[in-house]
């Protein structure tokens, strides 16, 4: 499919401009969905926490690498939350929603989700390597354990390594976030190709740079908070952000318009 065809496909969907603090409404709506149907969300969160704990167990003495792996998770998280989008959609339609609703979307009906997930995983790997290189090159002492990361990177007396690490992460994540912020819910909800969904995502960001920067920062904040609690808050944070992402999509992308002619 050529770019122009993808753009035409994308333009079938209207994008809306939203107020700056709309992310707060998305979080509130996401929390409401989580309360209405908590089990699938908790299960998603627990699985993510178990995966994170397994990584720590597997490579406990390489936190210079794990720091990037944990934050790189943010890049692939939109795919992981696909089941939660399905739950929110069912609740919105007044249908019954349970674990089966979330699991149904994982049946590989087509390769679109898999393709997009692989592309995001590839980008996530790029960030893991960049992060490891940054920490390895600029940390004043070896970063082996989470405590080392806290004292040598986060609370470093001299320099701005932690701020710089986050800033670089933000700059590298910006185009990926712009590509994925509404793409996965759109792929789930409508018949559209991967490139069309990505272009729609970019159009949404172009229409709302400040609200979506706030939304990106909120996602980073909640995820870093969950990591700071030793992953204990992950079972709540994952469903909160997953359901909220669905509401972001619903507010940012309007209904399809009929193709002209």
């Amino acid at each position: 499919m050529s770019d122009s065809q993808a753009l035409l496909e994308s333009r079938h969907f209207l994008t809306r401009s939203v107020p700056l603090f709309s992310p707060v409404n998305w979080l509130v709506a996401g929390w409401r969905d989580f309360q209405r149907c908590p089990l699938p969300g908790l299960l998603h969160g627990v699985l993510v926490a178990v995966f994170g704990a397994s990584l720590c167990w597997w490579i406990p003495d390489r936190f210079w690498l794990l720091g990037g792996a944990f934050t790189g998770f943010l890049l692939v998280a939109p795919v992981i939350a696909t089941g939660l989008y399905a739950i929110s959609r069912a609740l919105e339609r007044g249908e019954s929603a349970d674990l089966a609703t979330a699991l149904t979307v994982w049946k590989p009906r087509d390769g679109r989700m898999v393709t997009f997930g692989l592309l995001l995983a590839l980008a996530g790997t790029g960030w893991v390597l960049t992060s490891a290189a940054l920490i390895w090159s600029f940390a004043a002492a070896p970063v082996v354990t989470p405590e080392d990361f806290l004292h040598v990177v986060v609370l470093a007396e001299h320099g701005w390594l932690f701020e710089g690490w986050l800033l670089l992460g933000g700059l590298l994540a910006a185009p990926l976030f712009a590509s994925s912020v509404v793409a996965i819910p759109l792929l789930l909800d409508r018949q559209i190709g991967v490139l069309g969904a990505v272009l729609t995502s970019w159009r949404v960001v172009m229409a709302n740079p400040a609200p979506l920067a706030l939304w990106g920062a909120a996602i980073a904040f909640f995820t870093l908070f969950a990591m700071a609690t030793g992953l204990l808050a992950m079972p709540v944070v994952i469903p909160l952000l997953g359901h909220a992402s669905w509401h972001a999509y619903r507010e940012l992308v309007g209904s399809a318009v009929s193709p002209a002619g």
């Binding site: 986060v154 609370l155 701020e163 710089g164 910006a174 706030l214 990106g216």
Partner: protein
């Protein structure tokens, strides 16, 4: 006379001082995005990148405060 201790006054000043400083930094970010004519995507990148850096700066304060108290 007012019943406020030096520690409470310092705490109050620090809380509001840091908040005001962060708001000022946010203002600088918005000005930077506007004056650099970065365009809509540039504005998004500046806000997200520098915003996360700023969040790290605040997180450092909070973590130090939690560890000290």
């Amino acid at each position: 006379m007012s019943g406020i201790t030096e520690e409470q006054f310092a705490q109050f000043g620090l809380t509001f001082g840091v908040t005001a400083f962060m708001l000022y930094m946010l203002f600088i970010l918005l000005q930077l995005a506007r004056e650099s004519k970065a365009g809509r995507f540039g504005t998004f990148v500046i806000l997200l990148g520098l915003g996360l850096g700023m969040m790290g700066f605040v997180a450092k304060f909070v973590i130090k405060w939690i560890l000290d108290s």
